[in-house]
Symmetry: C2
Subunit: 330 residues, 2 copies
DNA sequence: TTGTAGGCGTTATCAC
DNA sequence: GTGATAACGCCTACAA
């Protein structure tokens, strides 16, 4: 290590320019010289310094990612998708997690700018004016995931959470639910919290059900909060269907219903969100809304790289969802 | 954007050197000038180019990570731990996943070298001479996670999988198991596959049980493979205890036992590995071996950064485990 | 076909 | 206290 292009040049008895030409396959090089250089490269294991190269080309081939939390399997899958796809195009990723702190998010934007990354994928759960201002100051391509935010400067990719929750609710009602309730995520979480909640309300409105008569508890996406929320609801209401804003809460709710001697789905139907790996094997197996985060990640990487390389990219991309019916619904 | 330190200098009527001094807090600067510079920095949102800086200082403040797969919650937690801890020391991470391909792993080592990262955390499931040769060629500090590989050049961090499996087996036996069996991971996976398997055998040996009489199936860590392995075992044997090399396989096994009308833990005791979030709420709740990957990640980051900054670091660090007894054992 | 020289943006050194 | 200058390692005109 510590070798630079001049050292290689000296060893191969040529100039640094020639070495550079061999490495990059640019310009013509005498075959004999080329072979000598290649041999030295091989022997020394020399790798050009990406810093120097980036400085010159103004390109790093690195994409910055900001996600709230890697413990959430959805985000882990999303990141995996990005990474796998990016590597195909010879890009790497710098990963940061914000823990849902807007302050962290903003400071990462600045960091990414400093590091001269080629593009940024940002997935937050809230999106403020401050975020927007920061993004506007950046002239690197940015892809925002999971936030509807009309802005022609950035690419946005969204899950239609509202429609998904709407449809899930409709299905429960169509299967005979008369006393439905919901366990939501935190409502400040625009996507998985608020939008799923509002889709639920929309479906009720269409059926002429007043939201005031419907029990709604706000959980925090953990199994425990699902359990507690269900318990709170059962204290004061009789219900025959539950929509939970994610599978963990749905599983917590099922556990609670079980403890209260309710039969699923005969007495109470349950529907979750996410289709985590356990949902299929759980007893009863869980009906849920499946969103393919891995593919969303791949798509995000592809779109962003397209934008980095100067191609036109549509501004708002919608990720499909799919409703999976299993044993916890009739 | 596109501003450089010279632009700032011009705007503030000072030299680039002075701007640099203000930014880095190095050397003395006249208060009046400092204020003028700060104002320009504020107004322009200028950030120094980390590439140029890195070129000069030979430092990037970035750590490279290689893990097999982010879908595995253990690795996701591990990475999260690294990232959170690294950020405290002002380091960022470049994350790559190898999909267990040794070829990928090696090429990432080279990439990291090219990018002049300050350190590398490598977690693979196999560790070959080729890996070792590559690491030896690198003079960046490397931390290898999950592989016992005596080498004074690198820091290694390990889970004592063998002892953990040994102890788990002993517990099952002490609780009256007479006809025990195991569902292992792939045995080429040194850590979670082979080592857990060998710990199991060691415990049997100590009790004078011949391994030939004991059913052993090799799964692939998925729920399905746990189910199938259990089914295969039950076809030919009667068992009263199962050790599975991870919780997913344990849950698959439980599901199978349930389908075969076996009572848990009365007829068959089950013990897993990992303590995934669902294990506690499953019915029956799952006894398991818990390893704190998040903290292992934090510790890895801390040790590696220490090494990067020139401090001496112990060479082999052992991560503790803990056996959690729940409803699936007597 | 090949080599020399200048510059990418920053910081450290050395005069002033 | 401040500014010019060289250097980090590479690539690319341009000249030979």
């Amino acid at each position: 290590m510590g070798l630079n292009i001049k050292d290689i040049a000296r060893m191969a008895n040529v100039s640094p320019a020639t070495v550079s030409r061999v490495i990059n396959g640019t310009g013509n090089v005498n075959e004999e010289n080329r072979q000598r250089v290649l041999k030295v490269l091989e022997e020394t294991g020399y790798k050009p310094n990406a810093l120097a190269r980036g400085l010159l080309r103004n390109r790093t081939n690195v994409i910055g990612i900001i996600v709230p939390d890697l413990s959430n399997i959805n985000f882990a899958e999303y990141v995996k998708g990005i990474e796998n796809e990016a590597k195909k195009y010879d890009y790497n990723i710098i990963l940061t997690t914000s823990g849902n702190s807007a302050e962290n998010e903003i400071s990462y934007f600045q960091l990414f700018k400093e590091k001269r990354l080629d593009g940024i994928i940002f997935s937050g759960t809230i999106f403020t004016k401050k975020h927007k201002r920061e993004i506007d100051k950046t002239d690197i391509p940015v892809l925002v995931f999971g936030q509807n935010f009309g802005d022609n400067k950035l690419i946005s990719m969204n899950i239609d959470n509202q429609s998904a929750a709407y449809e899930a609710t409709k299905i429960l009602l169509s299967k005979g639910a008369k006393k439905i309730c919901m366990i939501t995520g935190p409502l400040w979480d625009r996507a998985a919290g608020y939008d799923r909640y509002s889709g639920f309300l929309k479906a009720l409105a269409e059926e002429g059900i007043s939201p005031n008569s419907v029990p709604i508890e706000e959980g925090d996406f953990t199994i425990n909060s699902g359990y507690k929320s269900m318990k709170n609801i059962l204290k004061r209401y009789e219900v025959d269907a539950v929509l939970a804003a994610n599978d963990y809460m749905a599983l917590g709710a099922i556990r609670c219903l079980f403890d209260e001697n309710k039969k699923i789905p005969e007495d109470v139907q349950v529907m979750g969100f996410d289709d985590i790996v356990i949902s299929d094997i759980y007893n009863p197996s869980l009906s849920t809304v499946r969103i393919d985060f891995y593919n969303a990640g791949k798509l995000s990487a592809r779109k962003l790289i397209k934008a980095i390389e100067g191609e036109k990219v549509e501004e708002n991309i919608i990720i499909p969802y799919e409703i999976v019916l299993r044993g916890s619904t009739k």
